[in-house]
Amino acid sequence: MNIIIPIKQVPETSDVKMDKETGTMIREGVVSIINPLDLYAIEAGLLLKEQHGGSVTVCTMGPPAAAKALKEAIAMGCDEAVLFTDKRFAGADTWATSYTLAAAIKQVGAFDLIITGERATDGDTGQVGPGIAAWLNLPLATYVSRIESLNAGRIVVERLVEEGYQALDLPLPALLTVVKAVSSPRLPTLRGKKKARAYNLRTLAAVDLPVEDAKIGLKGSPTKVVKIDYPKVTRGGVMVKAVGEEGLNNAVDSLLDFLKDKKLV
């Protein structure tokens, strides 16, 4: 079982605070981490490897600093890491990113399974996983919440859809995008961290990959961001205190008035 896990480095949002004046997010001093939703993909890959043997390779397209995210994945127990980095990759949208990743993954070597997170917490699109599957013509299961079985070249998974859990049976090689319910990510071990420090990751640039210049980076991206707004998230609503019997009674009455007024009851 050779498993490839494309990951993304994103700004950490857990320590982010809201600016009470402007009502927007304070991004200063925010550090970069592995996209938290990719951790579920990494863990799912490591579990499959433990059961079925083989190797887990993480990769990312990003700036040289994204090596840190790859090393963290090595510290968690991944075997290999490859960084696709080139100024010409910069500014890629999901179309160009999945094109580049698909070409790069083929270059990295033979694989049985690609696992990605559901989406990245910064871009929030969830389009790169399905995009890679389309480029590589791989059977695809999105929103996978459980991996049921893997044998004889097929994998059975459950995916979360609006009506329930849909069970799919896919031939390998295949691509899965996974949600949180699929696994509980392990923490890096001391031994893993040591290994990560010593690990020399492979780096590939545009010239090393079978990619057309017109399809990568900003130039290869059909979509363009034309405007960014920072919406006020604070709503400045009504606040009532429910203290004492009377206070409680009044608070709930005014809530009911609010709900009636907005035609919510």
């Binding site: 700004p11 009502g23 969830g126 609006e162 896919l170 363009k224 998230v233 608070a251």
Partner: protein
């Protein structure tokens, strides 16, 4: 003249609400472009009477690719069929719902037809002069709104957040053609097999598509206490959701989780008790129309985004809301 297409979805032979929500979006765009609005369904077995509701809710025409092999969603086959239709009919715009289906199918097709695609939009417009689709969406956990366009690639493609628009009122005087298209055998991809569907436990049909969501957090203290939120949800005609903490403690199953690592929702009313309002939780609720919060801590972050907040002990407040709602409904009858 190239049309605006919206992708309808069905479940158990019934059209899902998102199909109609998309039509109210598409109607505005088609009118601005002075073109037709078509609703497209890839499925099988839906009668004309059922499909006609698409016309009554804004479509000028309905196209249904009708084949048992499209009955269950399998992205490979659906993508082959849709990409082929795009190549043949060259629509101006395709809108799909940002559902598990739309968010799987659209990126697959966008690669095949070399088109730009914007995910989970909450606002759409047509740029004057260029006639391009302006696609606005929340990103970075809803902390920014990005407006995106694809200047040189067609069709213009976007998925649209469920519940971010309301269906148009039913207009039974509207008429339009319903055309059935046969699926070509070459488009059938038999590699992936659908083994079945295990429905969710009762009370959770699609939290993303509910008008009212009642959520509980760590402040609920234990699983049993959610019964009061279930009562509240029932009174309001809503479903139950929760924070990551509530899910990780086993009080609710994962499909109920709202936020960064769970679902993003846009209900008419989001009401919560014992939820602090972490940045990750807010990422999932910011586009709700009304937010009501009950929390004992007056400084809780949730109050910043609330339209109505009650500072108090939820174990006193929620039962009283339930009692008063029940009394109100009785006297209303």
């Amino acid at each position: 003249m190239s049309y605006v297409w919206t992708l309808a979805e069905q479940s158990h032979g019934r059209l899902r609400d998102v199909s109609f929500e998309l039509l109210s979006r598409g109607r505005i765009l088609a009118d601005k472009l002075d073109t037709k609005l078509c609703s497209l369904l890839l499925s099988s077995g839906l009668a004309d009477e059922t499909l006609r509701e698409l016309i009554h809710r804004g479509a000028d025409e309905v196209y249904m690719v009708d084949d048992p092999r499209l009955d269950k969603f399998v992205v490979e086959t659906h993508s082959n069929v849709l990409a082929d239709l795009v190549r043949r009919y060259k629509p101006h715009t395709i809108l799909a719902a940002a559902t598990s289906t739309g968010r799987t199918l659209m990126p697959h097709v966008a690669i095949k037809v070399t088109a730009g695609l914007t995910a989970d939009c909450t606002e759409l417009d047509i740029e004057e002069g260029t006639r391009l689709l302006l696609q606005t969406r929340p990103a970075i956990g809803g902390n920014i709104m990005a407006t995106i366009k694809s200047p040189h690639h067609w069709p213009q493609m976007a998925t649209v957040r469920p519940k971010s628009s309301r269906p148009l009122a039913l207009d039974t005087t509207r008429v339009g053609n319903i055309t059935r298209i046969a699926m070509q055998d070459v488009h059938h991809d038999a590699r992936v097999k659908v083994l079945g569907l295990r429905p969710y436990e009762e009370g959770l049909a699609g939290i993303e598509e509910a008008d009212v969501v009642v959520a509980g957090g760590k402040g609920m203290k234990k699983a049993d206490n959610f019964s009061m939120l279930r009562d509240l949800a029932k009174q309001l005609g809503g479903v139950i959701g929760g924070t990551r903490d509530a899910v990780d403690r086993g009080w609710l199953s994962y499909p109920h989780q709202i936020g960064l690592s769970g679902k993003t929702i846009s209900p008419k009313l989001y009401m919560c008790a014992g939820v602090s309002g972490s940045i990750q939780h807010l990422a999932g609720i910011k586009t709700s129309e009304y937010i009501v919060a009950i929390n004992q801590d007056p400084d809780a972050n949730i109050f910043q985004v609330a339209d109505f907040g009650i500072v108090g002990n939820l174990f006193e407040v929620v039962p009283l809301i339930n009692a008063k709602l029940e009394a109100y409904k009785k006297e209303d009858k």
